[in-house]
Symmetry: C2
Subunit: 333 residues, 2 copies
């Protein structure tokens, strides 16, 4: 089999993040559950933005961050996501293409604006997201370039894509990715993210019917998925349902699970935890780079931890450094 | 005399910064003088943006950064500057108001977009700016609220405001500030910034005709102003031309000069110099906070150095921390 043209094709909501520090009191006053991702409408977005402190803007989106991280590591990547033809859309498109990721979905014209997520960063580095999905929900089958799907070694989707249909009942843009599964040639990878709260049964069905080959989640998500408070029980249930899974454990690092094998890799040293935004996305980037470049699962998980550690030491959802260079210096590439 | 309603009114170009790391090779290839501020048109902006790496966006502008820094220290502030009614304009307006600065200039409708500056950050932390002025140049006398001018203890202007008239020959928005001078009640402060290169003779005239009370500049600018390579010669010429001046000396800190008095204050310790964007602006913020809050010149310069040190340790032109809290913890407030 010849090498695929793209190591990873990511499909996700094309979002620009608006990041600001906050005190936890504000979250309480506004009824925001710390660490959550809340979907908001225009009115709520305007209300929260007015109350929000000074912010910086940075391209984000879960799968977008993962594709960016992969590109920074030197992988060949592509991304499907929908922006509008506005200034935030230009920012997202520029950043996605700036490291060589293929991104060619036509911007939405004359409709709602580009999605933005107002991210409130607590003093302990935890982030609470308030996302206005805007144009991101307009991603449709028409945006799916079948040639790219066919030429990607792995197709990776974020759980937040499901938010679209729940709310709008539009044709899905995620199905083409799963469609490639039957032949077994194009594994599909999937990150539940906190969308799990809204789609537990659907996600469980995806796993148990074999539609997903590789699953990314954090520990609370896996526990919620299997409705257990016990880590071992949760991980073993995941082991039974997936061919390969990688679970982040916060300060304890991460664990890769495949069949009878389990690899626990401790977290990298972190000088100062500033902002956890993007941690899970960048973990997935490192891990996916590893498994598409002949690394074993332990090395792949180590690279995932390494990428996650970079992104939590500054404000913003994507690495500030050239991750290929950084990983080489750390002896990981 | 009753306390003025505003400690400082800033007047400047309302700009959103687009910041990305670069290698110095790129600056050479594109004919960019490291450390400079270049004015660019739409075509050049599009060209450079395509070549530029992944960026983050943050509200900027020289006087805008100073007003923001002052507000973060707890000063009462106002700002005059022109944005367009677009997404970048909303971002600038939000950030300016988020700490309580009064900002009420009507956005430009149906014209050019909000100004943006593409800032390339070299590995040594030096920044090279490429500014498309857009709507910023449309600031006019109509935007000057005389009530605010009359109620500001100090009116502060950035040298980049001059770029407007040189290029467009439009009515000036800076004159109202100078107009307040004759009564002696409202001192005017002025930062030459690198606009000095384009307006040396005009700036010298401003100083020598007593239109400016307080001058901010860095060492290369003062040397260029008086056409000398000798620091002492330059500073003494500035002493003769101004009532009060404050000159930043890079790693050597800063010097405040008034009459026969000279106060040299060493720089604060910096763990890692990441991005010098905003250093001079935040120095001015700390210094202006001091002199509007009964601090002596030495303490004012110390607070200036402290604010500059914060902003150069992360990417972006404005402090990430609550500067009042930080300065209190450092025993400076």
């Amino acid at each position: 089999m010849t090498k695929a043209r793209f190591d990873v094709l990511g499909i996700g909501n094309a979002i620009v993040d608006v990041l600001a520090r906050t005190e936890d009191d504000f979250l309480v006053a506004e009824g925001l559950h710390k660490g959550s991702m809340n979907l908001i409408d225009t009115e709520r977005a305007e209300y929260l933005y007015k109350l929000m402190g000074p912010a910086i803007e940075a391209s984000g989106g879960s799968a977008g961050n993962t594709v960016f991280g992969l590109a920074s590591l030197g992988a060949d990547t592509a991304f499907f996501g929908k922006v509008a033809d506005d200034q935030l859309g230009e920012i997202f498109s520029h950043d996605m293409r700036s490291l060589g990721a293929h991104f060619d979905c036509a911007p939405l014209v004359g409709g709602v604006p580009t999605a933005r997520s107002m991210i409130l960063i607590s003093p302990d580095g935890e982030r609470t997201m308030n996302t206005y999905l805007g144009a991101a929900t307009e991603l449709s089958e028409a945006d799916i370039d079948e040639d790219i799907v066919a030429n990607a070694a792995i197709t990776y989707m974020e759980g937040y894509l499901w938010d679209k249909e729940k709310r709008q009942k539009k044709p899905s843009a995620r199905r083409p990715a799963f469609r490639t599964k039957p032949g077994g040639r194009f594994p599909s990878a999937f990150r539940t993210a906190s969308a799990l709260i809204r789609f537990r049964e659907e996600f469980l069905d995806l796993l148990q019917t074999g539609q997903v080959d590789i699953v990314f989640a954090n520990e609370p998500e896996v526990k919620a998925l299997y409705q257990t408070a016990d880590r071992a029980t949760a991980l073993n249930a995941l082991r039974a349902d997936t061919r390969l899974s990688a679970v982040t454990l916060g300060g304890e690092g991460s664990v890769a699970i495949s069949g009878n094998e389990t690899f626990h890799v401790p977290a990298c040293n972190v000088r100062e935890l500033v902002d956890t935004t993007g941690a899970g996305d960048l973990y997935a980037a490192g891990f996916l780079y590893g498994i598409t470049h002949d690394m074993d699962l332990e090395k792949s998980a180590t690279l995932g931890n390494f990428c996650a550690a970079e992104v939590i030491q500054h404000i913003g959802p994507r690495p500030e450094h050239d991750m290929r260079q950084a990983a080489e210096q750390a002896g990981l590439l």
